[in-house]
């Protein structure tokens, strides 16, 4: 799979990741990694943040759409 963003720019580079939202192939330069916090517990116990985070790979378009930028 090739990077979709690079292809749009007239370049060709191998994809190393896939956007979890739109499925776009992404090279290392265009893959945007977002760390999601994980919580466990909750009523009737206090919720606690788990040290481990869930990584999420997004393309630039989806990342900016989700962030509202």
């Amino acid at each position: 799979m090739k990077c979709y963003v690079c292809a749009q720019e007239g370049r060709s580079s191998d994809a190393v990741a896939v956007c979890i939202v739109c499925g776009m192939g992404l090279c290392r330069e265009h893959a945007m990694r977002e760390e999601l916090e994980m919580w466990e517990g909750g009523y009737p116990f206090p919720a606690k943040k788990v040290k481990a985070k869930i990584p999420r790979i997004l393309c630039p378009e989806c990342y900016h759409a989700l962030k509202g930028k």
């Binding site: 919580w39 517990g41 909750g42 009523y43 009737p44 116990f45 206090p46 919720a47």
Partner: protein, 251 residues
């Protein structure tokens, strides 16, 4: 401030809201019914206006504020807002002893603060006529009967908490609504037996502020609201573990 300190503040605030709006609704009902001919000595004023509907309205005030506190503070402290719930979770090894003690102190202080704020909001009639919504056995109800009624009511509350919140198989998101409505339903039935406290803190707060501000002296009844709710909640927690076949350590 440490994590436990913040959680205790959440318990304090949650219990204060419970007493302000829940017990406050009982006090307001008595204030509205002042001077009404109740017709029977079993009716002290709550029920004079709308029969069992008076208790249903008080129950709904409790239901709504309990749901609000659980949804807003449940993730912070667990929103026990009830020493009986905290003790039952501790007794089944789900909650550490040191934190349980801190939670109970916070709940008792919060309940007193809720009563004080209600008296400040509603005036001295809330103390002298409404008794700040303090609970006591109704005419003709004996000490043992009152303990039994409080234990049964709290048993229902704790079984529901176990089933809808503690049990990991429970559907998420319903705890606040279901637990609030459960308390509202229990109050509708046993409100006119014991006041349906189900919660030592909810009774302690109005008792303390009534004593300080010249309201009714009801301390002789406090053991009812210690023994009944705690016994009912602890039995319910072990009962739930037994019928679901879970060991307490596995939860």
């Amino acid at each position: 401030m440490g994590d436990l300190g913040k959680r205790c503040i959440a318990e304090l605030a949650g219990t204060a809201l419970l007493v302000y709006f829940g017990a406050g609704a009982a006090a307001i009902t008595l204030m509205i019914a002042r001077g009404t001919d109740t017709g029977t000595p079993f009716n002290i004023g709550i029920g004079a206006l709308g029969g069992l509907g008076d208790w249903f309205a008080i129950g709904m005030a409790f239901a709504i504020v309990i749901a609000a506190v659980i949804y807003s503070m449940g993730r912070v402290s667990g929103a026990h807002i009830n020493p009986a719930v905290t003790i039952a979770l501790w007794a089944t090894k789900r909650f550490p002893a040191g934190e349980a003690g801190a939670y109970i102190v916070a709940q008792l202080i919060g309940a007193a603060l809720g009563s004080l704020l209600f008296a400040a909001s509603a005036g001295m009639d809330a103390v002298t006529i409404g008794g700040l919504g303090a609970t006591a056995p109704f005419p003709g109800i004996g000490y043992g009967q009152a303990i039994l009624a409080e234990a049964i009511g709290t048993f229902v509350l704790m079984v529901v908490i176990m089933g809808i919140a503690v049990d990991k198989r429970a559907p998420p998101g319903f705890a606040g609504l279901v637990i609030g409505l459960t308390v509202g339903g229990v109050i509708t039935t046993i409100g006119n037996i014991t006041g349906s406290s189900l919660n030592t803190a909810r009774t302690f707060g109005p008792y303390l502020i009534d004593s300080l501000m010249g309201g009714p002296d009801l301390w002789v009844y406090l053991p009812i609201y210690i023994i009944g709710p705690i016994a009912g909640a602890v039995i319910a927690a072990f009962f739930y573990d037994f019928i679901t076949g879970e060991s307490s350590a596995a939860a």
